[in-house]
Structures are given as structure tokens and as C-alpha cells.
């Protein structure tokens, strides 16, 4: 069975004892060769979802595939690399032994393991520490070894649960470089992390999971498409600015959006005007009109929402404006929002 998707999930649900609904019908697609990031607040069900993919947890309901095989198909896991969150590798093993051990567990031949262990230690910057026991490692070092063991079987799909947890800035940069390299090699990378700024630099697509449901999913550019705008700030008092903006379009009611003749939305707030477009060519005539009206432009900036903005929007209740409570639900059932 082959599929263009490395991961394809439909209607995945997990209810723990005590009727805790960790996942309530997750639909998700991860294309082959992309870096996919799963975001969500604490207790949203991210780790549960990853564990279901890795057969650590049995789903209550699940349709879908991993690398073209049904979820839970054990032999497929030989082609998957996994770094669990809060992993604990035996302290009596050296870093090299940990990598070798999990390689053997994946069925990697001995000669290949030996060769690849050295390469991976080099890759994660642990060559000098490979012969030392894990118990002597710092948290960041253990994380580096964890990342290396996830790659020992030359996986087509790599699932990394908080790969930069405990890693210093230099290490994070290295891990980002590794992720980029994995992507360049055509591997699919599925990352579960809280470090939004880190993810933004490497991921192609994201899914935001909130209370067991996918709140939004897609490429960052697509998800931020409607939220990009140009911000024009005039060097004028608010009253003067309002009259200058009136040359472009009638002013909307306070707190509301107006529409330009060209169709873009706009908002006015003091001497600032936000115009909902991503196209600089649409801005040029507006700037000309403003300058013709005698306005002095102090600032012109193209604003693109960050991943954090998307995340915060997803975890905010639109009706109350309050951040949604973290954790799974004990009352909500599958599919209900």
C-alpha cells in the first residue's frame, strides 16, 4: 500500500478511564517530505496523538495510515524514528550503546549500526561523549542522543516530541539544521513542540490541536493569508489623520472594518491605518493619494502574523476572548465543539 501522505488520520479519538476525552475526532494529513508541526496547549492531546501513531497508546477509534499502512502496523515502525517526550534511556549505557541498542531493536544490521552510530554522534555533536555513560550526561546531551537514536534506522518518517527540550541555543540551532537536512533528504518530519518561534523557522505546515480537536491546519502562509496587512502610520494628530484617510474611503464606525473601492478591508486607529492586503502594488496608489492629501507618512510596514499569533488565536474562545482552559475534557464527546 502506498500513499502520497506519510500520515493520514481520520476521526481519531481516545477516551481514557474516567471518561477523559483526550482526542475527540482528529483529522490530519501529513504529506511525504514535509516538516509538519503539531501545536497545542498543555493537555490538548498532542502526545496522545503521537503515542497512538507509535502504538504506545491504543486509540478508542482510529482510521488512517502511517507510511501507507494502517495505524498500529508494527513492521512499519522499522521505517519510523521516534523521540518521546521526557525519555529516559538507561544510565548504565553509553550514548553510543543507546543508539546501537535502538538500532538493533529496529532491525538495523550490525555493520550499518556501527557506521551510522558514529555518523549520528557526529551529527548531534556528541562524538566526544559517545563512550561516556548516559548517567553522566546533562539534559541537553541526553536530548541530543535521543535525537540521534530516532535516526539510527534511517527513517522515512521522524516523529519528534519536544526535540529541543532542555537544549541550549547552540543545540537548538544544530537541531534546526538537522531538521532542514532531513527535509532535504526527502524525509517526513513530524514535530510536537511548544517553541513556536523555533518551529516557524523550519516547518512547512502546522496543525493546532485544542482540547482534542484540530482547530486549524495548513501551511503557515495559507493560515496567515487573511491576516496579513500593511500598517500605515501618519505623522499627524488623530483628527488630521482621520481626514487624510477619508480621502481613501469613508471612515468606518469605531472598532469596525471598512472596505476600500479595490475590495481590501481596512481599519483606522488614531494615526494608523491597517489595510488587508499582501500585495505592495495595492498600497502604492493609496500612498500616493495620502501624500496628495498632504499627509506625511511616518511608518509603512508589512505585517504577517506569527505562529504564536495563530496559536493564541486558536486557543482563545472567540465569544469570551478568554484563553481556553488547558487539558482534556471530561464532558465533551467526539466531534463536539
Amino acid at each position: 500500500m502506498s500513499s502520497q501522505h506519510a500520515i493520514e488520520l481520520h476521526n481519531v479519538a481516545k477516551t481514557y478511564r474516567g471518561k477523559v476525552h483526550a482526542l475527540r475526532g482528529v483529522d490530519m494529513r501529513v504529506a511525504r517530505g514535509e516538516v509538519f508541526c503539531l501545536l497545542g496547549p498543555n493537555g490538548a492531546g498532542k502526545s496522545t496523538l503521537v503515542k497512538i501513531l507509535m502504538t504506545v497508546i491504543r486509540p478508542s477509534r482510529c482510521e488512517g495510515s502511517v507510511l501507507g499502512q494502517r495505524v498500529g502496523h508494527k513492521p512499519t515502525l522499522a521505517r519510523v524514528g521516534y523521540l518521546p517526550e521526557h525519555h529516559q534511556f538507561p544510565g548504565y549505557l553509553t550514548g553510543a550503546q543507546v543508539i546501537d541498542h535502538f538500532g538493533a531493536m529496529c532491525g538495523v544490521p550490525r555493520a550499518a549500526r556501527k557506521k551510522r552510530t558514529g555518523e549520528l554522534l557526529e551529527l548531534v555533536g556528541m562524538s566526544d561523549w559517545g563512550a561516556k555513560r548516559m548517567r553522566a550526561y546533562s539534559k541537553g546531551m541526553r536530548q541530543r542522543i535521543g535525537n540521534a537514536q530516532a535516526l539510527i534506522n534511517d527513517p522515512e518518517l521522524v516523529l519528534l516530541d519536544e526535540p529541543t527540550d532542555g537544549v541550549d541555543p547552540v543545540g537548538r540551532r544544530d537541531i534546526r539544521a538537522i531538521l532542514t537536512r532531513l527535509k532535504d533528504e526527502g524525509r517526513t518530519v513530524f514535530i510536537n513542540s511548544h517553541l513556536l518561534s523555533e518551529l516557524e523557522m523550519v516547518c512547512d505546515r502546522v496543525a493546532i490541536l485544542v482540547q482534542g480537536l484540530v482547530r486549524s491546519q495548513g501551511a503557515i502562509t495559507d493560515l496567515t493569508q487573511d491576516r496579513r496587512y500593511y500598517n500605515i502610520v501618519l505623522d499627524a494628530q488623530p483628527e488630521q489623520a482621520t481626514s487624510a484617510f477619508a480621502a481613501l474611503a469613508p471612515a468606518p464606525a469605531p472598532g469596525e472594518r471598512g472596505a476600500l473601492d479595490s475590495g481590501e478591508w481596512f481599519e483606522v486607529e488614531g494615526p494608523a491605518m491597517r489595510i488587508g492586503t499582501d500585495d505592495p502594488n495595492r498600497i502604492k496608489p493609496l500612498l500616493s493619494s495620502l501624500m496628495a492629501a498632504g499627509a506625511t507618512i511616518r511608518e509603512l510596514r508589512h505585517v504577517r502574523p506569527s505562529l504564536e499569533d495563530l496559536f493564541m488565536e486558536a486557543v482563545t474562545d472567540p465569544t469570551t476572548g478568554q484563553t481556553l482552559a488547558p487539558g482534556a475534557s471530561k464532558t465533551r464527546k467526539g466531534g463536539a465543539k
Binding site: 507509535m54 502504538t55 504506545v56 534511556f89 550503546q97
Partner: protein, 390 residues
């Protein structure tokens, strides 16, 4: 891939053992016990330890050959005391963490994410856990074989049977330990509850031994009384015959002639009635103890036969004649005097009978039912491990 994974887990188990101090402490103790064993000797005066001489009327080369002496020490102390108790407790302390460590948060996720089925993963880990005992017993047995060869002058390779036998014995406890560890996720709970379970099994074994001793003691008394009664009857019969030949009649207290044959016997031997009553009492007592012994055996059937499993080694190493020789020399056993009113437990012939009864228990019963118990426990472990979310 199966071989690669199995080897990886066995190597990991060895590395884990190697990293544990207790493993090396136990190994050191094993060597120490072997050295003690080698320090023992036997000559025509008795037993020697290093350069000290302990005169003994039983253990000397006039009655016991060096070969039998060393074999006896091995099956009397080496296996039942050292390997079955002290080394087993140390092994349990070392391996009780197998299941809790396997399912510890942070460790189990990585293992389960590999292309290996849960049942195979658990069973391989379980088998790897037995490696501790296998290595310890092998080293101990090797040392003892060398001692027997050098000091006893006989090469006894069958002594290596201790490895599988002690391994099977330990696996009964280890299966319980794994189950408790899997359910409670606690090494301490697994260790303490397993030792408690072992104690219960020990008590059942002791109860079985005691009841068996009572049963065989009362059976011996029945046999003695039956023999005695037969002799008394024969004597009475002879006396009656003599009276008949002389034409004399037997009369009761009212001077009436007694014609009933039984009454005639009682008349010539009044103690006969008393002996019959004693025999009836003894038979009733024997039936009673047999019932209780049967119940104890029934309970034992569903429990692991720890004691009998270990005793299998002495079956192979000491034949029945060896046992009889040793028991006879230790107890000075002779048939009890019919007049002795010894309690059944005190009959010196009873232990030998008990030993023979236990030896006649089939290997299939001893190992079969114990392995069935272990299979049930491991089945439960697999069921729990397979269905649990981590």
C-alpha cells in the same frame, strides 16, 4: 530482525547486570561459598575443615565415600540453602525491578515504538531477567564440579542440572514478581509481595511435609499393629489348638463353655481386644491424616512446587540407597518397638518413607503443574502488558 532484537535485549540485560553492584556481590558470595565447600573434607575419623578435624561417627570414609559426602553437601546445603534461599533472595532483589523499569514513563515509549510485538517484548525481557540466575548458578555449579573433581576424585557433570532446575525454580517466583511489578509499577511492592507469596508457598510445603509425616507415621503404626495383631492371633490360635488337643474347654465367668471362635481367642488372649481397638484407632487416625494430606497435596497442585523442583536435583544426584544410608546413619532408624507409644511424627522410619513418597511424585506433576501456574501468571502479564496504555 527477531534475532537482532532478542540479542539486543539480552546484551542490554547483561549490561544492566554488569552495572549493578549486587550482581557482583552475589557472584563474590558464590565464589566464597565454593571456597568454603572446597575447604571441607572427609577422612576415616570424620569431617575436616581447612586444617581442623571434627570427629564424626556418621560422616567418615568408613561409611560415606568422599563422592557421596560432597554430593550430599551439595544437595543438602549448596542447593536448598544457598541457591534456593540466600542467592534467590539476592536475585529477587536484583531483578524485581524488571517489569516496573520496563514500563517506567520515558522508557516504555521508546521500546514500544520499535517493530516488536508487545507480547514478544515482554517475554524476551522476562527471559533476559532470568539471565541473572542462570549466570550465578552456572558459576556456582562450575565451582562445585571442580571441587568434587579435585577433592572428591569424581567428575559429576550432572551437577550442571542445577542450572536448569534452579532457573525453573526461580522462574516461579520471578513470574509472580513480574505480575506484581506490572500491576503496581513498584519494585518494592513486587519484591515484598513476591517474598510474601514465597513464604505462603513455603508454609504450604511445610504443612504438606508435616501432614505427610503424620500420614506415613500413622501408616507405619497401622502396619506395626497389624503385624502385632497377627502375631497375637497366631499365638492365641496355637494356644486354642493346644487346649483342644488336651480336651480342655474354655469357660466364661458364669462357668459356661465358650464356643464362638472369636470369643475363644479373646478368652485365651485378653490383650487381643485391646490390640484390635488400638489398630482401629490407628486406622482411623491414618485415614484422617490421609484426608488432610490429600487436601494439602491438592492445594500444592495449583501452587508452584518450589521444594520438589529443587529436590529433583537430589533425585538425580543421590539414588534411593544413598538416601537410605544417609537417613539410617543420621537417625539410627530401626523399626519402632510395638510397645513404644511414640507419636507418629517421632517414628524414626517415617522421614525415610516421606522422602520416598516425595521421590515418587512424578516429574511431570512437579514441573508440569508448576509450569502451568507460571504459564497462567505470564499469560496474565502478557494480557495486561498488551492492553495497557503507557
Amino acid at each position: 530482525m527477531i534475532i537482532s532484537q532478542t540479542l539486543a535485549m539480552l546484551i542490554d540485560a547483561y549490561r544492566e547486570l554488569n552495572a549493578r553492584k549486587l550482581f557482583w556481590i552475589t557472584m563474590g558470595l558464590n565464589v566464597f561459598v565454593v571456597v568454603l565447600y572446597a575447604s571441607l573434607g572427609i577422612n576415616d575419623k570424620g569431617v575436616t575443615f581447612l586444617h581442623w578435624q571434627f570427629e564424626n561417627d556418621v560422616f567418615n570414609t568408613r561409611f560415606v565415600s568422599p563422592e557421596l559426602f560432597y554430593k550430599t553437601q551439595f544437595v543438602t546445603w549448596g542447593i536448598p540453602v544457598w541457591l534456593s534461599w540466600i542467592a534467590t533472595i539476592l536475585a529477587l532483589v536484583s531483578t524485581a525491578g524488571m517489569a516496573p523499569d520496563l514500563i517506567a514513563a520515558g522508557a516504555i515509549e521508546t521500546m514500544l515504538s520499535k517493530p516488536i510485538g508487545r507480547v514478544r517484548l515482554f517475554l524476551t525481557k522476562y527471559t533476559a531477567g532470568l539471565l541473572f540466575v542462570a549466570l550465578q548458578v552456572f558459576i556456582f555449579s562450575l565451582g562445585c564440579v571442580l571441587v568434587m573433581w579435585i577433592r572428591g576424585g569424581v567428575l559429576v557433570p550432572s551437577l550442571f542440572l542445577a542450572v536448569p532446575i534452579v532457573l525453573v525454580f526461580f522462574s516461579y517466583l520471578f513470574a509472580m514478581c513480574a505480575l506484581i511489578g506490572l500491576v503496581t509499577r513498584s519494585t518494592v511492592a513486587a519484591l515484598l509481595l513476591t517474598i510474601l507469596f514465597w513464604f505462603v508457598v513455603f508454609l504450604v510445603n511445610q504443612a504438606d511435609d508435616t501432614l505427610l509425616l503424620q500420614r506415613e507415621g500413622t501408616a507405619l503404626r497401622v502396619e506395626d499393629l497389624e503385624t502385632n495383631l497377627e502375631q497375637q492371633r497366631a499365638l492365641a490360635q496355637k494356644r486354642l489348638q493346644q487346649l483342644d488337643e488336651r480336651g480342655e474347654t474354655i469357660r466364661d465367668t458364669d462357668d459356661r463353655e465358650i464356643t464362638d471362635p472369636d470369643q475363644r481367642m479373646y478368652a485365651v488372649n485378653p490383650a487381643l481386644r485391646f490390640s484390635e481397638t488400638r489398630l482401629d484407632d490407628a486406622r482411623e487416625s491414618n485415614e484422617n491424616w490421609s484426608d488432610w494430606s490429600g487436601r494439602a497435596t491438592l492445594i500444592k497442585t495449583i501452587l508452584p512446587k518450589t521444594q520438589e523442583t529443587i529436590a529433583l536435583l537430589s533425585r538425580y544426584m543421590l539414588n534411593e540407597n544413598d538416601i537410605k544410608t544417609l537417613l539410617a546413619q543420621q537417625t539410627g532408624a530401626e523399626p519402632a518397638d510395638e510397645q513404644d507409644e511414640l507419636p507418629a511424627l517421632a517414628d524414626p522410619r517415617a522421614p525415610e518413607r516421606v522422602e520416598m513418597v516425595k521421590r515418587r511424585r512424578s516429574v511431570a506433576w512437579v514441573l508440569g503443574t508448576s509450569l502451568l501456574y507460571e504459564g497462567v501468571l505470564l499469560g496474565l502479564c502478557c494480557l495486561i502488558f498488551r492492553r495497557r496504555d503507557f
